[in-house]
Symmetry: C2
Subunit: 350 residues, 2 copies
C-alpha cells in the first residue's frame, strides 16, 4: 500500500552534525528514491522512479544515473543506501528480502561503490528511519528509541544513546520477526505467528483473500462490494481500510486483531529494551484510527510497565522521507568522525 | 528448586577494574547471601542465611548483621545489592516481585544505606548476573551478551559494549515477560502466555499439579510414583526432572514443551537484540539435557539468522555466585569512574 502518512517532517531540525553534501538512496520494492542531502539530514534535492525489477545490475545502473543528475560534479563526500532487510551493514550485503525478488547475498554497497567510484554504505531502511525519527522526527532525543515500520512487511530499528544499535551482525531490530502465536500463519520468511504474519499489510490482505475464498465475506457488505466485482483488484490493506471506514464489520475486526497483535509485540519489545519512546511509521499508520485503540488496549494488558515509567508511543513524523533522512544522518556521523560510525562501517563483525 | 548448576567459575578472570573492597548482597526469595569482594568480581568471603520472611525491615537488619561479620571495620568502599526484578535501579526501588511476598515500591537501597551509613546501590539480580557472565563467566567479551536465568521465574539481563544495558527505567532485560502464546497460561504477574508462564520451574510445577488433578498422570508411571503417595511433596521442577530421567513420558514431554517455548523466546530476543552470545543460567540448567534439544530445534526453525551469523548459546559458568560477582563488578565500575556507572547510579531517569 502507498505510504500515506499524513504527518510531515517538522520545519526545525537539530543542528547538523555536518554540512557536508552526501548522496543517499532508499531502495524499496516499488520505488527507488535518491537525494542529495547534508549530513544533518536535510534533503536538498530528490528524485524517484519505479524500482527496476530486472535485478541488482539494473538497480545499480539506475542509482548511478540518478547520481549523475543529483550530483553531476561528484561533490558528495559519502554515499548511503537504505534497503529492506535482513541485510549485513558491515559487509554491505543484502542477505535476503521478500521485497526484492531473487536478491540473495547481493554486495550492493560494493556494486554501487564501483559504479560511483567512491565508497558506499548500506543499512536497513527501518534502522535508518529509526535514526531519522530520533534526530529529526517524532522521537527527538528519546533514549532508547525503537522504531517500527508497519507496511507490506514490518521492520524496525533501535537507537541507543543517539546511535544506531546494530547488534552483533547488523540484524538487531528485525522486529517483524518476534514470535507471538505458535498457531499463527507463516510470514514470507516462514516464521509462524511472527508479528509480521499477524499485523502487516500482507497479513491483512492474505486474511481477506482467505475469507473471500471460503465465503467469510457476506454478500452486500462493503468488503464484498469492493472486492468481489469482476475485475476488482485483489484485496489489500487500503481496500480493507476503505471497507472499515464504511462500517464493514469484518474489516473492522481484522484491523482490531492486527492492533491486538501489535500491542503484544510492543509489550515484548518493552520487556526486552525498555525504550523511552516507540515510533510507529509506514503505510499502515494511515489507518491508525482503525487499529491503534486495540493496540493500546492489549499493550496496557500485557506490558511490564508502571504508570510513571511508561513507554511513549508516537506516530512517525518523517513519512516517506525517513529512510533518506536517516541515511543522510548516518553518513553525517561517519564524516564527523563519530567513533561508532567508521568502526561500524569498517570493522569485521564475524 | 535449588540451583544445581554443575559448572563452576573459571579459575582465571580478567584483570580487575579495581582491587577496592566492596560489599555485595544477593537477595533471593529463599536465600540471602552476602560477600566481601573486590571490584574485579573476586569473592573474598561469603555468608548466607535463609531470607527473613517478615518483610523489608527484617531483611535490612539481617543484611546489616552480615556486614558486621564480613566487614567489621567498614572498609568496603561501595555496597551493591542484587535483588529480583522488576525494580528501578536508579531510584533503588524494589517495584514488585513475586519472590518477596508483599514487597512493593520498597526503597531497599536507601534503607540499607541508612543502616550501613554509606550509599548502597540496587540492581536486578539477573541483570547483574549478565555482567558477571560477560566478564568472568561463559560469555567472556561477547557483545551484545544476553543472559537468562531459568529458575522459579525467568529473568534476564543485557550487556552492550561491556556495560549493563538498563533501558530507560532500568527495566530492560525482563525477558521472562516476552509474550509467546495468546492462549497460554498466566504468569505470576498476570501476563498470558509469556516465556515465564511456559518455561519456568513454576510453569512446569503448575502443569504437573493440573495433570495430577485431572487424571493426566497415569497410575504406575514414575510421575505417579513420585507425586501421588500420601504425604508426597507437591510436584516441582526437580521432581519432574527425576521422573523424566526414569523415562516418564509425561515429564519428558513437559520439558520438551518448555524447551520449545524457550527456543521461540530466544528467536524473539535474537530478532530484537542480535546478540553474539546468549548465556542460560539458573536452576533449570540442571535439567539441560531434558529441554535443550527441543530449544535448539525450535530456535533453528524460527530465528532470523544465517549460518555464519548465528548466535552462540552457552550454559552459565558462575552458578549461584553470578549475582554476587556481577554486583561486585558493577561496584568496581562505579569506583573506577566508569562514566556510565556513576551516572546510572545518580541521575534521575524520569
Amino acid at each position: 500500500m502507498p505510504d500515506h502518512n499524513a504527518a510531515q517532517a517538522p520545519a526545525a531540525r537539530p543542528d547538523p552534525a555536518s554540512a557536508a553534501p552526501v548522496l543517499v538512496y532508499d531502495l524499496g520494492g516499488t520505488w527507488l528514491r535518491a537525494a542529495l542531502a547534508d549530513g544533518g539530514g536535510r534533503l536538498l534535492a530528490q528524485l524517484r522512479q519505479p524500482t527496476p525489477q530486472e535485478g541488482p545490475a539494473a538497480v545499480v545502473a539506475a542509482m548511478a544515473a540518478m547520481a549523475g543528475k543529483l550530483d553531476p560534479d561528484g561533490r558528495a563526500l559519502a554515499v548511503g543506501i537504505a534497503a529492506p532487510g535482513p541485510l549485513d551493514p558491515v559487509a554491505g550485503l543484502v542477505l535476503q528480502t521478500p521485497h526484492l525478488k531473487g536478491w540473495r547475498d547481493v554486495p550492493l554497497a560494493a556494486l554501487l561503490g564501483a559504479a560511483l567510484e567512491r565508497p558506499a554504505h548500506l543499512h536497513n531502511d527501518a534502522t535508518l528511519a529509526a535514526l531519522g525519527e530520533s534526530r529529526a522526527g517524532a522521537g527527538l532525543a528519546a533514549d532508547p528509541l525503537v522504531y517500527l515500520t508497519l507496511s507490506t512487511g514490518i521492520g524496525g530499528g533501535i537507537v541507543i544513546g543517539g546511535r544506531l544499535f546494530d547488534g552483533r551482525h547488523g540484524l538487531a531490530g528485525e522486529l517483524g520477526h518476534i514470535l507471538l502465536d505458535p498457531t499463527g500463519p507463516d510470514c514470507v520468511l516462514g516464521h509462524r505467528g511472527c508479528l509480521e504474519s499477524l499485523a502487516s499489510g500482507t497479513a491483512l490482505a492474505r486474511r481477506a483473500r482467505a475469507a473471500l475464498a471460503t465465503g467469510g465475506i457476506a454478500p452486500g457488505t462493503p468488503m464484498a462490494e469492493l472486492a468481489t466485482p469482476a475485475g476488482a483488484r485483489p484485496p489489500d490493506a487500503p481496500m480493507l481500510a476503505e471497507a472499515a471506514r464504511r462500517g464493514d464489520a469484518w474489516a473492522l475486526a481484522a484491523f482490531r486483531d492486527a492492533g491486538d497483535a501489535l500491542g503484544r509485540g510492543l509489550a515484548s519489545i518493552i520487556a526486552t529494551v525498555d525504550p523511552q519512546t516507540i515510533v510507529l511509521g509506514g503505510g499502515l499508520t494511515g489507518a491508525w484510527d482503525l487499529w491503534a485503540p486495540a493496540m493500546a488496549q492489549s499493550l496496557a494488558a500485557t506490558a511490564v510497565t508502571w504508570p510513571d515509567r511508561a513507554c511513549a508511543i508516537h506516530r512517525a513524523a518523517l513519512g516517506d522521507d525517513a529512510g533518506l533522512v536517516g541515511a543522510a544522518l548516518w553518513m553525517g556521523d561517519l564524516l564527523a568522525g563519530d567513533p561508532a560510525a567508521p568502526q561500524r562501517a569498517a570493522s569485521p563483525s564475524r
